[in-house]
C-alpha cells in the first residue's frame, strides 16, 4: 500500500492504494465518490469516464498511482456548488437523455470532452465520439440530441424526445 494524493474536483484528497488499484476503484471505494460507475472489465462501456488533467480517461484503464499528483474531475464536480446543473447536464434532463442513469456519468464526462474540442459537432461526430460509451436504455436518440442541444444547435427538427 502507498499513499496517493490527487486534486479531485478542486479538492486535494488522499488515500491508500495497492499497486493494482484502479483509478475507478480508488475514486469509488477509497474516496467515496460513487458517481463514477463501473459497467465492465474490458474498458468498453465508458461508464467510468473522468477527466485527468483535462483529458477524458476511462478510470478503469488507469492505476490510481498513475494519477498521483494529477487533477481529476468527476461527475460530482460538474454541477455548480449550489447544485445547479451545468448546461450539458441540463440538456440531458431537458431532452430525456438518460433513463436508468448508470451510463450517464460517463456520457456526461465524455460529451464534455467532445464539446471542449468540437463546440458544434454534427450528428455523425457525436455518434462517432460516443463509440466508447455504451447505453442500454435510450437507443442513443436522446443522448445525441441532448449533446447537440447543449452545443447550442437547434434540435427541434429531430423527432420528439
Amino acid at each position: 500500500m502507498s499513499q496517493v494524493t490527487m486534486t479531485v474536483n478542486g479538492k486535494e484528497m488522499s488515500g491508500d492504494a495497492e499497486g493494482r488499484t484502479l483509478l475507478s476503484q480508488f475514486l469509488r471505494e477509497t474516496l467515496g465518490l460513487t458517481g463514477t460507475h463501473v459497467g465492465c472489465d474490458t474498458s468498453q462501456c465508458g461508464a467510468c469516464v473522468v477527466h485527468v488533467d483535462g483529458v477524458a480517461v476511462k478510470a478503469c484503464t488507469m492505476l490510481a498511482m498513475e494519477a498521483d499528483g494529477a487533477s481529476v474531475d468527476t461527475i460530482e464536480g460538474q454541477a455548480a456548488p449550489d447544485g445547479t446543473l451545468n448546461a450539458l447536464q441540463q440538456a440531458f434532463q431537458d431532452h430525456h437523455g438518460l433513463q436508468c442513469g448508470f451510463c450517464t456519468p460517463g456520457m456526461i464526462m465524455s460529451a464534455a470532452d467532445l464539446l471542449k474540442n468540437n463546440p458544434t459537432p454534427t450528428e455523425a461526430e457525436v455518434r462517432h465520439h460516443l463509440e466508447g460509451n455504451i447505453c442500454r436504455c435510450t437507443g442513443y436518440h436522446n443522448i445525441v440530441k441532448a449533446i447537440m442541444a447543449a452545443s447550442g444547435q437547434d434540435v427541434s427538427s429531430i423527432a420528439a424526445e
Partner: protein, 787 residues
C-alpha cells in the same frame, strides 16, 4: 396544446438530478459497516463431475474468513422456479434441483463451485486461485436437437431426459389446424432461429447480505426489479426466513430488461453467509461474470407454417419450436416460450386456427429466462417473417396482405386463448405509412443503387400483451405467484403525499410519471407527491416491474388507493362544511358544495384528518392513508406497425439502418416524453438483436461472446434517430387509466422490420434469398449473397 402538468404532460424527470450529478444510490454504492467480500469460483467447463475440492491452501491465505462449497448448503433449499408448465399430455414439466452452490456436478460455464469470503475483494480473488478442484469432465450438450437425441448425455442425471416439457397449444386445435393445411391454397414455410441474447443492463448485478444478531433480522440489498418477489422466493423456499425477519432493498437499479427479475444464487448466498458469519457480505458482479451468470434471453429454433386460401386469407398457422432452458430453470423460464409466446401467435391477424408446439430443452449453458419482451418478440419475429415471405411468394404487397388479414372488430377472442379488448391496426399502419414516406422509397432506392448500394424496406406489425393477469387465471396456467400490484397512498397532515408502490423503477421514471396521475386526480401540484419504491420495509407486498406492467397494474393500484383517499376526504370536507357528502365536489385541489360558494382547500381537509378537533370521529377514523391491491381482469394489448429502411453494401455485406419508424398504440399516455424514450430504447435493443448481438457457444459449451470485446452491443453509430408516433390511441377498457404499457414494444416490434428490410434489399439486387438468421452480420449477408 400539450399540457404542462398532469396526465399527458411531459415534465422533466425528477430522478435525473441525482443521476446527472453522481448522487444516485446504486447497490454497489452501498457500504455496510464491516462488510466482507465474496468471490465466486465458477466452473470453466460446461459439464463435469466434482470429484473433490481441496481448500487447504486457500483457507490459510491472507484475509480469508471462510470458504463455502455445496456441502455447506445441503440443508438449505434450492433456487426455486416460479412457474410450472403442464405438458401436452397433462404431465408436469421436469424440474431439476438448483443448489445455491454446485453439488456433485457443474452444469454450465459459470456454475458456482465455491464462494470465498475475505476481508477484501482482492484477497477473496487471490484465495479462489488457490482452491484445487478435481473436475472429471463430461460431454457437454449444447445444441437443443442433439440434446433430445436418443442416448444424449443428460444435464441432470435424475431426470428422464433433457426434455423439460413438450407443450401443445391449443392441443385440441391440432386436428383442425392440420386439416386446414391439407385444404390450403398456399402454404409458406420458414425455419428460423431467434438468437440467444444477453440482457446487459449497464449496472452489473450486486448483492449485499447483512444480519443483525440482536434482532435476528436479515437484510439483502440487491439489484432487483422486484424486491418483494425476491423476499418471498428466497425467504420461503431457500433460506427459511419469514418475511418479518427479512428485508430486501433494491435502491437505484441501473437497468433490468428482465434479467433482474429472477432470484439468483448469489443473493441467497450473501444473505446466508451474512448470518453464518455475523457480518455483511458483499458481491459485485464483474461484466465477465455477468455474461456467464445473468440469465440469458431468447434462443428459440422454430419452424413456422402459414396456410392461406385462394384469396390470400390466413386460414391456419402451425409452429414447432425448440426453446433453450439452459442448465437450470430460472425463475420464470418455463413461462416464456409457452404462455408469453403461444398466446401471442395470432398477432394482429384473424387467423382462425393456430397450433403451437414447444419443446423446452436442458443444455449445458447459462439458464435462459425473460429478456425485454420475453416470448412476445419470438412470436412476433416468426409471424412477421413468415407473412413477409408469403407476400413475396404470392407476389402481393406485404402491407396489403397484412391489412387484408387484420383484426378489425373488438373485443376479439383469438384461437390462442386471449381476448384483445381494443386496437386499431389500420390506424397504426396509416400513421406508419405517413411517417415512413413510402411513396418516396423508389427514388431513395435508385439513389442508393447509383452509389452501388442495395436499399430495402421492411415492415411489420406487433401485438404485445402487458400486465399478465388475472392472478386466478395465471395460477391455473402454472404461475406460483399472484400478478397484482399494490400501492399505499399516505397523505400527510399538511397535504403532501407519499405513495409507496410495489412497482419498481429502474429507468422507467416512475418518480415523475406516477405523481402526474395522483396530482391530476386531486388537482394539486405534482411536486406535492413523492414516490417510494424498492424497499420491502416500507412498501406493501407487490410484484414489481416487468412485462410492461407498471402503469397498467401498479398505476391502477395507485388510482384505486387514491380513490379511497378522495372518498374519505369528501366525508371530512362534508363535515367541515356541514353539507351532505353527496354534494361534495373535488376540483383543482379544493372541495366545494355543489351549487354553493362554500369551499375548503385540500390542505384544510388533510390537516383535519390528523388534527381531528372538528371531525366526525363517530363515523370515520382520523388519518388519511389508504392501500389498494389491484388485480387486472385481463392483459392489455398494445399494438403497432414498424418500418425499417436499410442500405446494404454488397462488397462487405454491411447493413446500415437508414431510417426506423414506429407507430404504436399504447392507449392513453401519462408522459409522452417517457413513452418515446421507452420506444427508442426498445428499438435500440431490437436493432441490436437483428444486426449485432449473439451469445454464441462452441460445441464444448464455452461462451465465445463473453465480454464487450466479443458481444456486439449497439453503439451510437449503429442506429439513426428514430421516428416515433403514438397518435393512434385506443384506450384499454378494463383498467381505470385506459393505459396499455409501452416498455417492451420497441424490442418486440423492431427485429422483423430490420430482417424484412435486409431481405428486401438483397432481393432488389437479384439475390434469391428468403431468410438470413439474426444477427444479420456482414459475414452472414455476404455469404448469403455470394452463396
Amino acid at each position: 396544446m400539450p399540457k404542462d402538468s398532469g396526465i399527458g404532460a411531459s415534465p422533466k424527470r425528477r430522478e435525473d438530478v441525482r443521476f446527472l450529478s453522481g448522487t444516485g444510490n446504486y447497490t454497489d454504492d452501498i457500504q455496510v459497516n464491516g462488510q466482507a467480500y465474496v468471490h465466486f469460483l465458477r466452473s470453466d467447463v460446461a459439464h463435469a463431475k466434482i470429484n473433490g475440492i481441496n481448500l487447504d491452501a486457500a483457507s490459510v491465505m491472507p484475509g480469508v474468513i471462510k470458504i463455502f462449497t455445496g456441502a455447506d448448503f445441503e440443508g438449505v433449499g434450492g433456487i426455486p422456479c416460479g412457474w410450472q408448465v403442464t405438458d401436452r399430455h397433462g404431465e408436469p414439466m421436469q424440474e431439476p434441483a438448483h443448489p445455491v452452490l454446485a453439488q456433485g456436478k457443474v452444469r454450465y460455464v459459470g456454475d458456482q463451485i465455491a464462494a470465498v469470503v475475505a476481508e477484501t475483494l482482492e484477497q477473496a480473488r487471490d484465495a479462489a486461485e488457490a482452491i484445487e478442484v478435481d473436475l472429471e469432465e463430461l460431454p457437454a450438450v449444447v445444441d437443443m436437437k442433439a440434446a433430445l437425441a436418443e442416448g444424449a448425455t443428460k444435464v441432470h442425471d435424475d431426470l428422464t431426459s433433457n426434455l423439460c416439457y413438450d407443450w401443445g397449444f391449443v392441443e385440441e386445435n391440432k386436428p383442425a389446424v392440420d386439416a386446414a393445411f391439407e385444404a390450403a391454397a398456399h402454404v409458406t414455410t420458414l425455419e428460423l432461429r431467434n438468437n440467444r441474447l444477453v440482457a446487459n443492463p449497464m449496472e452489473p448485478r450486486v448483492a449485499i447480505g447483512d444480519f443483525n444478531r440482536a434482532t435476528g433480522e436479515s437484510t439483502l440489498y440487491t439489484t432487483s426489479q422486484n424486491p418483494h418477489v425476491i423476499r418471498l422466493l428466497m425467504g420461503a423456499f431457500v433460506l427459511g426466513i419469514p418475511e418479518h425477519k427479512l428485508r430486501v432493498v433494491a435502491p437505484d437499479v441501473g437497468g433490468g430488461f428482465g434479467t433482474k427479475i429472477f432470484h439468483y444464487a448469489e443473493e441467497a448466498f450473501c444473505t446466508f453467509a451474512a448470518k453464518a458469519l455475523n457480518r455483511a457480505v458483499k458481491w459485485t458482479s464483474t461484466r465477465s461474470e455477468a455474461f456467464i451468470s445473468d440469465a440469458h434471453g431468447r434462443d428459440h429454433v422454430t419452424k413456422i407454417e402459414l396456410a392461406l386460401d385462394a384469396e390470400n386469407n390466413f386460414t391456419a398457422l402451425r409452429t414447432d419450436t425448440y426453446a433453450n432452458m439452459g442448465a437450470y430453470l430460472s425463475t420464470f423460464a418455463p413461462s416464456v416460450p409457452t404462455w408469453l409466446h403461444g398466446t401471442l401467435m395470432a398477432g394482429n391477424y384473424k387467423t382462425p386456427l393456430i397450433y403451437v408446439n414447444v419443446k423446452a430443452v436442458f443444455t449445458n449453458t447459462v439458464p435462459v429466462d425473460a429478456y425485454r419482451g420475453a416470448g412476445r418478440p419470438e412470436a412476433t419475429y416468426q409471424l412477421e417473417r413468415v407473412i413477409d415471405k408469403a407476400a413475396r411468394e404470392l407476389g402481393v404487397d406485404p402491407i396489403a396482405l397484412r391489412r387484408q388479414n387484420f383484426i378489425t372488430e373488438f373485443p376479439y377472442a383469438t384461437p390462442v386463448a386471449v381476448e384483445y379488448d381494443t386496437g386499431d391496426y389500420n390506424g397504426t399502419m396509416d400513421a406508419l405509412e405517413k411517417m415512413a414516406d413510402l411513396s418516396g422509397f423508389e427514388a431513395r432506392r435508385k439513389e442508393s443503387e447509383a452509389r452501388g448500394k442495395l436499399r430495402g424496406f421492411g415492415v411489420n406489425c406487433y401485438i404485445e400483451a402487458c400486465g399478465i393477469a388475472p392472478s386466478n387465471l395465471v395460477g391455473q396456467l402454472g404461475a406460483r405467484a399472484g400478478l397484482y400490484e399494490s400501492a399505499t397512498v399516505r397523505v400527510n397532515a399538511t397535504g403532501g403525499i407519499v405513495v409507496m408502490t410495489g412497482s419498481h423503477s429502474h429507468g422507467q421514471g416512475h418518480e415523475t410519471s406516477f405523481p402526474q396521475v395522483i396530482a391530476e386526480m386531486i388537482g394539486i401540484d405534482e411536486s406535492m407527491v413523492e414516490i417510494e419504491h424498492g424497499d420491502t420495509a416500507n412498501t406493501p407486498m407487490g410484484m414489481g416491474t416487468y412485462g410492461s406492467r407498471s402503469i397498467a397494474v401498479g398505476g391502477s393500484a395507485m388510482v384505486r388507493a387514491t380513490e379511497k383517499i378522495i372518498a374519505k376526504a369528501k366525508k371530512i370536507a362534508a363535515h367541515l362544511m356541514e353539507a351532505a357528502e353527496a354534494d361534495i365536489e373535488l376540483k383543482d385541489g379544493a372541495f366545494s358544495v355543489a351549487g354553493t360558494d362554500k369551499s375548503v382547500a385540500w390542505g384544510d381537509v388533510t390537516l383535519a384528518a390528523y388534527v381531528p378537533h372538528n371531525y366526525p370521529l363517530e363515523d370515520i377514523e382520523p388519518g388519511l392513508e389508504e392501500t389498494a391491491f389491484y388485480d387486472p381482469a385481463n392483459f392489455t394489448y398494445p399494438s403497432g406497425a414498424y418500418a425499417c429502411e436499410v442500405e446494404v453494401d454488397p462488397d462487405t455485406g454491411k447493413v446500415t439502418i437508414e431510417a426506423f419508424n414506429a407507430a404504436d398504440d399504447f392507449g392513453n399516455i401519462i408522459n409522452p416524453m417517457i413513452v418515446d424514450g421507452q420506444v427508442h430504447g426498445g428499438i435500440g435493443q431490437g436493432v441490436g438483436q437483428a444486426l449485432l448481438e449473439n451469445a454464441a457457444y462452441d460445441e464444448n459449451g464455452q461462451l465465445l461472446s463473453a465480454s464487450y470485446m466479443d458481444y456486439a452491443m449497439p453503439r451510437a453509430s449503429d442506429v439513426p434517430f428514430y421516428g416515433v408516433d403514438h397518435s393512434s390511441q385506443t384506450p384499454c377498457t378494463h383498467n381505470p387509466l385506459g393505459v396499455k404499457g409501452c416498455g417492451e414494444a420497441g424490442a418486440i416490434g423492431s427485429p422483423p422490420a430490420v430482417v424484412n428490410a435486409v431481405v428486401d434489399a438483397l432481393r432488389s439486387g437479384g439475390h434469391d434469398i428468403h431468410h438470413i438468421d439474426m444477427p444479420v452480420s456482414p459475414s452472414r449477408v455476404w455469404q448469403a449473397m455470394n452463396g
